[in-house]
């Protein structure tokens, strides 16, 4: 069951993999990215007259007509369908309150648990302090609803969790999960990467776990544009 957890991310990330025709450049807030009525301003951009301007600092991606700006730093901003790793903060009458390291906390309703749970025995399924992988079902101003319905979601038992910069997560996962797959293969560990920047690792020995963590941190440390998989292969021969 553990290996399936990662497939959930891979499905989410697959659509981001197509980057062959994308032009990228670094932009600062207020900077004009392109000029022309044809372009479609997407995430992190705004239209100002003829121009499409960046509304935040990051990498602008120009893919055909659509423009977006990807942030390279900063906190996690929850979006629908993100797979996240969180920790149970509280058990309420209707479900579990989940700390997911973002501005608003997540809520996992009782109905979302995969089997029937008696209200008196909720802590036998998820107790305070337990770590889970969950998917964001909806983002509303009142809070974030989570679900466990999905491939490989659920409680993460054993192992340990650490944090990386959330905007680096797509690079850790890699094209269709190639990067995290490589690290898993080389270290023999189970790894789950949440979009909120939490990474869960469980391996056969603690040495393997530490090696996997170093590998993940190596990937997260630098924003290499391409050839990262090759660099990683090289890293594994050295470490």
């Amino acid at each position: 069951m553990r290996n399936k957890i990662n497939e959930a991310h891979e499905a989410v990330e697959a659509h981001e993999a197509d980057s062959s025709e994308v032009k990228r450049k670094v932009v600062i807030p207020g900077e004009v990215i392109v000029t022309g009525e044809d372009y479609l301003p997407g995430e992190g951009t705004k239209r100002r007259g003829e121009d499409v301007v960046a509304s935040r600092f990051g990498l602008a991606e120009i893919a055909g007509r659509s423009i977006k700006v990807i942030s390279l730093f900063g906190t996690f901003i929850p979006r629908r369908n993100n797979v996240i790793i969180g920790r149970v903060r509280d058990i309420t009458f209707y479900g579990w309150s989940i700390d997911m390291d973002s501005a608003s906390s997540g809520f996992l309703p009782l109905d979302e648990s995969p089997r029937f749970i008696n209200k008196d025995e909720m802590d036998q399924f998820l107790a305070i302090g337990d770590v889970i992988a969950a998917k964001i079902w909806s983002v509303k101003s009142k809070g974030i609803d989570l679900t466990l319905n999905g491939k490989g979601l659920g409680k993460l038992e054993g192992g340990f969790v650490f944090r990386v910069i959330p905007s680096r997560v797509p690079r850790i996962i890699g094209r269709e999960g190639s990067m995290v797959g490589l690290i898993k293969e080389k270290t023999g560990c189970n790894i789950t990467v949440g979009q909120n920047g939490w990474v869960w690792i469980k391996g056969p020995t603690s040495d393997a776990e530490i090696r996997a963590r170093k590998a993940v941190e190596f990937v997260a440390d630098k924003v290499f544009v391409d050839g990262l998989t090759d660099k990683m292969e090289e890293w594994f021969t050295k470490n």
């Binding site: 807030p29 509304s55 730093f73 924003v223």
Partner: protein, 238 residues
């Protein structure tokens, strides 16, 4: 014209330095220096706001804290907040708020900590410049950067970016200190503070001279932001 003590021209700024990403544990951070004045800003959030009664369900809020550290001046300053720090924190907040769009983050706060580690006049303006960079670094939606500079008078002559020595120039018309913050690519000003006396005609001159200075500051800020990405990309930025 009275000669400036460090030999600068009237519209010449002190050497500026800006660096982004100086506080590893913050969500965004930056350092900005005007000569001997050095400010460090760190941004945390957006995160859930406590106390709860301050939460705004319509928008996120900005909370700035300016701190002149005790070792930043030659006579040790008593540490901790005081009336002056409170005022500067508030005006910094007001100076930055017009460029931010926090509607996406209801009930949250963005905390900006500004530390002056070395002071030689113009600390609030250096703090605003650093905070503007740090907010951008944290990936917060902004319409533009904010640039800030202080102008003043040596008797009748308008000069930009005063040092402490110039700020205390009491001859002739007396000491004047005029702090301005400008939204970089707009004709908008988010901070105007005057300490001293100034003639209405001279005010125009002050605005002109600070517009020119703000352009220079903007270029320095821009360079600092682009540099951090290049650095993180291992020199492979496209």
């Amino acid at each position: 014209m009275a000669k400036r003590s460090d030999g600068r021209k009237a519209d010449e700024l002190r050497p500026m330095m800006a660096k982004v990403g100086v506080v590893p544990n913050a969500d965004g951070s930056a350092m900005f220096a005007f000569g001997n004045t050095i400010a460090i800003a760190a941004v945390y959030g957006p995160r859930l706001l406590h106390p709860q009664h301050m939460q705004d369900p319509a928008t996120g809020i900005l909370r700035c804290n300016y701190d002149l550290l005790s070792f930043s001046v030659s006579d040790r300053k008593k540490p901790g907040p005081n009336r002056r720090a409170q005022e500067i924190s508030k005006v910094t907040e007001w100076a930055l708020m017009p460029v931010l769009d926090l509607k996406e983050f209801p009930n949250t706060v963005i905390d900006v900590q500004i530390y002056i580690i070395q002071a030689d006049a113009g600390t609030r303006t250096a703090g605003i410049n650093a905070a503007s960079l740090a907010l951008a670094h944290a990936g917060i939606p902004m319409k533009d950067l904010v640039c800030s500079v202080a102008c003043g008078k040596l008797d009748k002559d308008v000069v930009v970016d005063l040092t402490k020595e110039e700020e205390d120039y009491h001859e002739g018309e007396g000491a004047t200190d005029f702090a301005i913050a400008k939204v970089a690519n707009y004709d908008e000003y988010s901070l105007l503070q005057l300490d001293g006396k100034i003639q209405p005609e001279v005010l125009k001159q002050v605005v002109e001279i600070s517009n020119k200075a703000c352009k220079e500051i903007y270029e320095v800020q821009k360079k600092a932001l682009k540099a951090i990405v290049e650095q993180e990309m291992g020199g492979k930025a496209k």
